[in-house]
Amino acid sequence: MKGDAVRGHLDALLLAALEQGPLHGYAIITAVQQRSGGALELRTGTMYPALNRLERLGLLRSDWQSVGERRRRCYELTDAGRRSLAEERTAWRELTAAIGAVLDPAPAPRPAT
């Protein structure tokens, strides 16, 4: 699934990837790809401005940490980020339920004979 399908849901994907704990940028991309079974391809370059934006909005915080032999900027969810993720999940479920009802309607009951 290409980047176009992801557009509009990038914030939620990034927040969800960080739900289990802090990760650095490339690990976030890997987490999204692994959790989607490789179906979602994030264009790496679009992710860093998005991470910066989420941090500016107070949904993430970040800090330089030593990971292996290198220093990496690691991101983690704030309380506001967890609340935002919960809201994104609710909105997504409502959207998929509504679209699913249209695309895959339940079979109409047979008229009584």
Binding site: R7, D11, R43, G45, Y48, R56, G58
Partner: protein, 220 residues
């Protein structure tokens, strides 16, 4: 002859395309370089990344034309916030010092036109400070609920420029008044403070205008 590193070339091209606060830009570029290096190592599958792996990582990252507008969008907003913060903090402080100066000098008779001009310029500066504070809110936590207007950085740039002009007029007025009035030392002190503030706001507003002219795209 050494073969150019595709990752370093890509990061350098991205750096050349971006304008904004140096610290934030450097941080974003460092993260981009780290991501490209990690991706090349992944592609090499544990081996030492070669030129092919580096080129593949660069392709996956996205071309400078594709990704620079998203980076620039964030840098422009950060620059607008820097400018807004300077205006929102410095201008009220200056307005207060001007007010104190008028009170102190009133008994000696600060020229009436100077008082009137200072009052008007103070009004412009106060309006600029209010707009700057609103812009900070609109690009901070409030942006979780409300979309950030595309032209907000440009508005902040011109708010900073207006505040800058108001501060400059005040500096000239107060310095002239200090020469004419008896209480020159206090007036000269406030004048110097005003000029220093003008320089700081002007530099930030200029950078903000430059950033606001560059093409950007929304992240979502």
């Amino acid at each position: 002859m050494t073969v150019p590193d595709p990752i370093e070339e890509h990061v350098a091209a991205l750096a050349a395309a971006l304008h904004g606060p140096a610290r934030v830009k450097a941080r974003m570029l460092t993260e981009a370089r780290d991501a490209l290096t990690d991706a090349a190592a992944d592609i090499a599958d544990g081996g030492s990344p070669d030129g092919r792996a580096a080129r593949q990582a660069v392709d996956d990252f996205g071309s400078v034309e594709d990704i620079a507008p998203a980076f620039q969008c964030e840098l422009t907003i950060v620059q607008a916030r820097h400018t807004a913060r300077r205006v929102a903090l410095i201008v009220p402080f200056l307005a207060l010092t001007w007010y104190v100066l008028v009170i102190v000098d009133h008994g000696r008779g600060l020229p009436y036109p100077v008082e009137v001009l200072t009052a008007h310029v103070g009004g412009v500066a106060a309006a600029a400070a209010l707009l700057a504070a609103a812009s900070l809110a609109a690009t901070g936590a409030l942006a979780r609920r409300l979309p950030t207007p595309r032209r907000l950085p440009l508005m902040v740039a011109w708010t900073g420029t207006a505040a800058c002009a108001a501060v400059a007029i005040s500096a000239v007025t107060l310095t002239t008044a200090s020469a004419l009035a008896g209480n020159g030392l206090v007036s000269a002190g406030v004048g110097v403070l005003t000029i220093a503030s003008h320089v700081r706001i002007a530099a930030s507003a200029r950078s903000c205008r430059q950033c606001a002219r560059l093409p950007v795209v929304a992240h979502r």
